[in-house]
Symmetry: C2
Subunit: 382 residues, 2 copies
């Protein structure tokens, strides 16, 4: 902390630094292993709904049928927004959906009866509300920016299906709902990623849950965290045909530019979440008579194969953007949908931080000018 | 990152971990030394205005008279809020001032012409606007929650005086304006404190400035970061008379409770900022015929003297809350006023992060259950 400590080690990006323990998510970046509460992401992606996964994350064990039914009932009852939130969405609707989501989520703090209560039961009550309110905000904004009225939630639909319903005012088909549900499961939690870490830093000051989630949304809005899904679709459009993928990749690599949807701070092999969306892209693009998109992506993967041994592999966002595109969802909603999935993960990180709280306050090493003599402005040369 | 790495070191709170370099602020916690851009906080507190200090922080050198006049002109021109922001403050006015400030600052993203532009010139333009808009939001909310109309900014007043004017609709006396101005200087920057660090984590994902500042406000709202000024005044009221300070301190220490306004993660001696507000409290409490407040605080300091050798010393918040109390400012505005001061510091941290950007993503050490076998819900026991 003193000048002249140039020999001190600086951990840029806090890479490989452990700042705390977590009982929630096991990630082995070398083996490509991901588990929520001890359960493999592959089992959860294949067999569990988002609601079931959210319960698992929040409570630490798989729910019984009764517990899940009760949780589901609470989530459905929580599908409601104060009228002022619709007004705020309308007033700010010209903004990017992530900016609007951040503003409206922050505003919920003025209406939640438990805002200032940081106890565990209150945090869990607020979590149920936020899980249900975040997709409502996103869908309402998507409608209102097109001068359409928000679609009231359907209390008979699951979380993913209800989101699609509120977005499009049509009952989604089962396959589409299942794919989005799976994507939410895959995005529900991922250790101390930048947005969850932000939520923990904010919680470290004993701020409330709305503050932590608002800040997490702020972090997720950055392209280096949440943005790849959007960019992959842009890349696929730019490539246009599978035969051009090789050339595209060669040119990017030659220019030293990264290829979108490849590489991850943690994984050195394929992101274990990727395969579940890959099968979705394959099925959906065939069903919709647009097999080209799947073929383009696979051609990119093939062209990238030489780099895989250096740890540059497909990440989860590589396929999910194309799924959303095929479902007719606007590109700037891809990251907000990531947020819908991540709410339970953020809450778990907040709960763990609160349990044994500590201010998270690292240091920067000073390398500015040495002490200087102050000259009052009256005597300062022009 | 793999299981069984129990031998790995966990740096809880990231205490003593350097995550990057900074050319802005030098802090020597053992010597009690604080410098902005090489200039001692003591010189700045005595001789520089908030506007001058903000320029110094943003540009790295003291401004010439011409540069400062130009900056001052820009700040005054930027004293304007979109009408929608007043609507949003009205809609959320029941919330805590920090929640409302966070929401309204976030909402500004929908109206700023440079929101999505993360270049340095755009960030500096947005910084000027945010420096002027943050106090407007706080003052407008303070008025509107009492069903009073917001007070239009006075373009002939400096930053601190204009804030007091917008808050009370009376021209503040010079001494009050000078004290608040000094408090803003003292709070303008402080290295990688929790809110500035939050701003850097959010910027690490390439999110926009409004996202970073909104998240910083979220972090500052926690009592462990911004809250002490509010609590010191509560403590002074509870003690009530200087003669009771000794007993109060003994009882707190016996119960193992900290005494508010003492201790800091970084300083092992008296916080160098404290003395400048101490003289303010002394003068103001005499002038206002309420010398008791200064006497109570000094009696607490005396009672705490035995602990000073263990590094538990007065911090900056110890005196500033009493200054605000004596100026008739509601207690829940003490932390928002801290935010007014800190905007330039947050922007500097964002600019430094953007210069050589990297995702800030530390790790948590897994200590949850080992791999478990998933049982589909249909076969799961009740």
């Amino acid at each position: 902390m003193a000048e002249g400590t140039a020999s001190v080690k600086v951990y840029r990006g806090l890479r490989d630094i452990y700042f705390d323990r977590s009982r929630c998510t096991y990630i082995d970046g070398r083996a490509g292993d991901l588990r929520y509460r001890g359960y493999s992401i592959h089992d959860l992606a294949e067999h569990a709904t988002f609601e079931e996964t959210a319960w698992l994350l929040l409570h630490g064990d798989l729910p019984t049928r009764t517990a899940l039914a009760e949780f589901d009932r609470k989530l459905k009852l929580a599908r409601t927004l104060p009228p002022a939130i619709y007004d705020i969405i309308r007033l700010t609707k010209s903004g990017h959906p992530m900016d609007v989501l951040r503003t409206a989520t922050s505003a919920l703090a003025s209406f939640d009866p438990d805002t200032a209560d940081n106890s565990r039961p209150a945090t869990l009550r607020k979590a149920v509300r936020l899980i249900s309110q975040v997709p409502m905000i996103i869908a309402a904004h998507a409608r209102m920016r097109q001068d359409q009225a928000p679609v009231p939630p359907a209390r008979d639909l699951g979380h993913a299906a209800n989101f699609l319903w509120m977005l499009k005012a049509e009952k989604p088909d089962d396959e589409a709902a299942r794919l989005v549900d799976r994507d939410l499961v895959l995005h529900a939690e991922h250790g101390s990623n930048a947005s969850s870490f932000t939520a923990r830093v904010v919680t470290g000051t004993n701020a409330n849950l709305h503050a932590a989630i608002t800040a997490a949304i702020a972090a997720l809005s950055g392209p280096a965290h949440g943005g790849a899904a959007e960019d992959v679709m842009k890349m696929a459009e730019e490539i246009g045909d599978p035969s051009r993928a090789g050339e595209y990749v060669r040119e990017r690599r030659k220019a030293g530019d990264p290829v979108t949807g490849f590489g991850h701070r943690v994984y050195r092999v394929e992101d274990p979440r990727a395969r579940h969306m890959r099968s979705g892209v394959e099925r959906l693009s065939k069903e919709m008579g647009q097999p080209r998109w799947y073929e383009i992506l696979q051609a990119v993967v093939q062209a990238m194969a030489p780099y895989a041994r250096h740890g540059v592999n497909v990440n989860v966002d590589f396929y999910s953007g194309v799924v959303y595109y095929l479902l007719g969802i606007p590109r700037d909603l891809f990251v907000p949908i990531f947020a819908i999935g991540r709410v339970p993960g953020w809450v778990v990180q907040v709960l763990e931080q609160q349990e044994n709280n500590i201010l998270i306050r690292p240091l920067t090493l000073y390398d500015g000018p040495p002490g200087r003599t102050f000259i009052p402005i009256q005597q300062r040369p022009e």
